[in-house]
Every structure is written in C-alpha cells, then in structure tokens.
Symmetry: C2
Subunit: 368 residues, 2 copies
C-alpha cells in the first residue's frame, strides 16, 4: 500500500508518530494531528450533523493540507458498498473494430454522470476464455461493484438472471428475451428497419436484402423483426434468401456483398445493421464494378467515423453516443436506492431514437 500522505517533506510536525514512536497512518494520523478522536474526524469529513462547525472546518483544512482521503478498502468494508460501477464490455474478435468508437463514446457519457457522484468505473472485460456469466458471478461475489452496466445482450441472457437473483442494481444496453423487471435502454432497431424499408420501397425497391449478425445477439432478431414487419406492411413477401448473416466487421460486409452477388435474382437494395459492414460491402461491390447509389441501394445503420467518409456517402442513422451513455448512467443510478431521490425516474426502459442522415448510397431508384 502506498503511503497515504505523499507530501511528507515537512519534517517532524507531520511525521505522525505516537509518543512511543509508533507510526500512524490514515484517519488516525489526522486525528492525532488535530488532537481529537477519529470518530469526530470521520463525522466531520462525511458531513454528519453532530459535529461543531468550527472543528469541522479545522478537520477539512487539515485533511486538505496533508492530502488525506479515506482509504477505499476500509470504507467499503465498513459500509458494505464500494464506490464503483462495473461496465461489462465484450472485446471479442467478432465485433472488434466495430465496437471501438461505439463503446468509447458511450463510456464518455457514463463517466460524465459517474464522476459527478464520485463513482469509479471498473471495466469488466468479457474475455473469450471464461464464461461471461461465471466471470460476472465472481465479480458480484467479490463485492467489486455497487452496480453494473451490461451490453450486447443476447436473446436469452444468463447474466440478467444472475444479476436479478443477486439483487445487484444493473442496467442493460440492449433488450433481452429474458426481460425481467430490470432497466434497459436499447436502440430503436425496429424504427430504423422500418424507416429504411419505407424509404427503399418509396424508391420502388421490392427485393430488399438485409445483413444481420451471425451470432445470437438480440439486436439481430429485433432488427429482423422490424424488417419483416415493414415488408408485410407494404405487402412484400418475406424471402429468407435475402437475409444474410455475417460477422459485424468490414469482412462481414464483404461477405454479405459476395453472397448477394451470387444470388440468382439479385436484390436491388440492402440494409445493414452495422455500419462497419458497409465498408467491406463497398469494397466488394467496387470489385464487381457496382457503385452504391447507382447500381444498388445501400442503407447502413449507425453513422460512425468510418462510415462518414465513405464514398459515395452512406445513408444511415445518427445518434449521440455520449447522450446514450449519460442516459445509461443516470438510469442505472435511478434504480439504486441510494440515488433514488437524485434521479427519481424509477424503472427506465427506453428505446433510443436515431435520426436519418440521407446520403448518396440509396439514390438508386427502381422503375415500378
């Protein structure tokens, strides 16, 4: 353990020894310096009412002077709560590169909320070696965090069952099939799918392909449902051959384009669920001499640094990652008893809207 006081160059006065030579650290040292009891010091620092305002000032000044901050371990042990929130993020190779800016953007917002309440953020990496649920179980049992943010929810997500039965406050970024009474925020996949299909149908398209993730992450199902519903609304029969499953990377997009080109009756439009797919898709189409917006219509999902500089520009949907992070943080706190009065929003379940950004990639019109 590092020495509590870093600036210990002031000599004998602040050395903090008892008359018998014993070296004292932490709050005991501070109390000794001030010649009051540690109980009073603690109460003074924690803003408890039963302490004289004058002594409180003395304590605060002394604490500031010697850079005293309460040791977190002692604090956590006594109060039974760490001042930390866990953020579980997957870093699998499936989504690597794609999730990059997404997570860091959300992170930023989450941090903004937490730092306001002096909460620390612990990153829980979802390594590929261990089962995520077991890892989570360990963290919960260790008492590492007071709350959790999980993301990339799956259709049936054991993590949700675990956390629910452990009664640990948490919020999920993404809906799940096993949706109990827990807060979540999810992107408006149905809305995006619907608007994308609407837009394409309005341009005369009838054969609209869709690129979805190949794993069982829940957003794929939701997106696909929205896609099907939109088709049905327009009286277009659903063709399973037009659903292409691939990794959510640019390679995945490349593969999607590849499979689309191989179809006997090639679709005239394609909707992607990951913007990164668009990059690889463009590349493959380019190799085939096809240009998005001229020979085929393409609509991506989220606007991102990668997608923003594609040529021709990609029609996609925009959102503020930071705002999403802020909402996540605040909604989690709202579900924690200790912050219930600061964020009296109750149980938050929110669909996060996205705004259409029209690009050139879906300019392609089909004669009806």
């Amino acid at each position: 353990m590092p020495p509590i006081c870093v600036h210990d160059s002031e000599g004998e006065l602040l050395r903090g020894e008892f008359p018998d030579g014993e070296i004292v650290k932490g709050i005991r040292r501070l109390a000794q310096e001030l010649e009051i009891s540690i109980g009073t010091v603690s109460r003074a620092l924690n803003g408890k009412p039963d302490v004289n305002e004058k002594t409180r000032q003395r304590v605060l000044e002394a604490a500031a002077a010697m850079g005293y901050v309460a040791n977190q371990a002692g604090r956590s042990l006594r109060q039974g709560s760490t001042n930390a929130i866990g953020f579980m993020m997957e870093s699998g190779s499936d989504t690597a590169g794609n999730s990059d800016n997404f997570f860091l953007g959300v992170f930023d917002g989450v941090q903004a909320v937490f730092s306001r309440h002096h909460l620390d953020l612990v990153v829980l990496p979802c390594s590929t070696e261990e089962d995520p649920t077991q890892y989570l179980q360990r963290m919960v049992a260790r008492g590492m965090v007071d709350g959790l943010i999980i993301s990339a929810t799956h259709r049936r997500d054991e993590r949700i069952e675990l956390l629910s039965s452990a009664r640990l406050p948490f919020i999920a970024l993404g809906r799940s099939g096993t949706s109990g009474p827990h807060p979540w925020i999810d992107l408006d996949f149905e809305g995006v799918a619907n608007r994308a299909v609407d837009r394409l149908v309005a341009k005369g398209h009838r054969r609209i392909a869709v690129g979805v993730p190949s794993n069982d992450i829940n957003l794929g199902f939701i997106f696909l449902d929205g896609y099907k519903a939109a088709l049905e609304r327009h009286g277009i029969p659903f063709d399973p051959a037009l659903v292409i499953r691939a990794k959510s990377t640019d390679q995945g997009g490349y593969q999607i384009a590849h499979e689309l080109l191989a179809l006997p009756d090639r679709p005239t439009a394609v909707v992607l669920i990951y913007e990164l797919m668009a990059v690889g898709l463009y590349r493959r189409f380019n190799e085939a001499g096809l240009r998005p917006g001229r020979d085929i219509a393409v609509i991506g999902f989220r606007e991102s640094p990668q997608s923003r500089f594609l040529s021709p520009t990609l029609t996609c949907f925009r959102m503020s990652l930071r705002d999403l992070g802020i909402a996540l943080g605040e909604s989690l706190l709202a579900s924690m008893p200790a912050y219930a009065e600061v964020y009296p929003q109750g149980l938050v379940r929110r669909i996060w809207p996205l705004e259409l950004v029209a690009g050139e990639s879906d300019d392609f019109t089909v004669d009806v």
Copy 2:
C-alpha cells in the same frame, strides 16, 4: 452489499446460521459449513503450505459449490493492496474521436495481460473539470490501485512527479521531458518523421509541411525534432512557416489544409502526426480541386479504421495496438515487486516501431 451466495435456494442446510440464529456470511459461513476454523479455510484457498491436502480439497469443493469468493474489500484492507490497476485516459474534446480506436485497441492488450493475473482494471477518466494531477493524487491516497498506466504524457508532466514521489508503480505511454527512472513505452515518432521525410525527399520534394498538435503533448515536440533532423540530414533549411499546429481531429486536418493553401509558396508535400487529420485534409483539398498523390503528397501517421478507407489510399504507418497494450501491461508488472520474477525485464523503456504502409497519397513526384 449483495449477498455473497447467490444460489441460496437450497434451504436450511446452506442457510448459514449459527445455533443462536445469527446469519453468517463470507468465509465464516464457509468455515461453519465445513466445521473448521476460518484461518484454515483462508489458508486452504490461498494455497498456503501448512494445510492438509485432504482438507484443502474439501474447502475448495465447498467454496466452488456455494460460489464463495473472498470479499475484495476485506482482502485489500488486510493485505494493503487492491488487485487493481488504473488506466488513465484522457477524454478531452481535443482528441475525441481520434483516440477512440487507439485506446480501445491498447485496452484490449492490457486486459489480456491483466486477466491472466486476475488483476482488475479501473478506468480513471481525466475529466476536463478537475486537474488530472489532483485527481490522480486522490486516487493514490484512496489506495485505489496497485499500479497505473498513464498516457498522453506532456512535456513536463506533474503526474510523473507525483507517482514517482508516491512510489506507486506506473508506466507511461509516451515519453516526457521530466523523465525520471520510470518505465515507459513510446511510439517511434522520430523514426516515422525521418522515414516520411526521406521518402518525400527521394521523390524530389524540398518544401515539406508538417501538421502537429496545438497543445503541449510531448509527442508533438518529438515528432517535430525528428522532422527537423531529417531535413538537416538532407541539407534542406527548416522553414517555421511550414509547421502547422492544429487540433488532432479531422477538423484540425481541415484547418491545416486551409492554412497550407494560403501559403505564398505552397509546399508540395505534407506529413501529419494524426491519421484523423488526413480525413479533414482530404476534404479541404478536395474542395480546392486538389487530389492527394496527384497534386500534393500526403503522408499520415498511424493506419486506422478511418484512414484505411480514404481514397486515394493514405501512405501511413502500421502497428499493432494490441501488442502495444500487452507490452504496456507486462512492462508495468515487471516494475512491480510482486511480479518481478514472472516478468524479469527490469525497467522497460521502449521505442515502439511502426511499419510503413505505402499508399497512393504520396505518389506525387516533383521534378528536381
């Protein structure tokens, strides 16, 4: 504090009550279940030698059965060390968007190392509101972490002085002017600047501009020094007017291009220190009807998802973010006494090499 045992649905047997009805948690509960003392349980779990192998097995099985994991706060308090490493990352608006994939990539490698040693990762956000050094001081005083990774080192970096005097193991991603005897790893900015200039000079360029960050982050100075040295090596006089300072974003790149276009004697080549600058630079040049590689030579810095899909393709330098993260993690551990024998590398100070990726953006040749 969440209940230690999550699966408490097995009824009376595992309820963990003392004869007088008191509810027991943690290691005490486990000891009670096994009818041995908590000291033995602790020793068994921690692999201490003086425990019978048979009882150790019993303990391990029981612990696994009831999902017991030692509470971290109690553990930290007793041993004086948390099992956590802090990663300080800046999230200022200056570098937002740019640092995104960089940090997450490095993160990935760091995590890979830490998870191997069951170390947790705490993210220390460098918010714009508080002084980073003070924030760090608080974290150190709280005893939050056993070690630290700091990044984006400045020319004179108070954080380094603080951590050195606090004797907390740390590693810096980036050199600093105030380089004490601490480990660091930094990218090979001199090498990149030299190779970039060499390459351009070989194509006949004599007026080579350079885009550097406008803040006092140290890498800007190092890069510039390399640039100057390379010029001198080729007998080209240094022209301060060709040094353009801007934000390390695409807007910054846009501004750089703008300023270059306004110069009376326009340079024929430009070297950038942030790949994201290239994006904005391309845009401004495009507006002016200039095409990189045809009308002006451009060399970016790091290959990134954004830069990879620029057209014409950007000549830049490639590196593995994950490997850098791994090196950072291992080198930090090497500087911690507890891991000295696992990573016997001593004090690491490493220049991280980058590999040239030739693109089209510097195809432009000047007649000599």
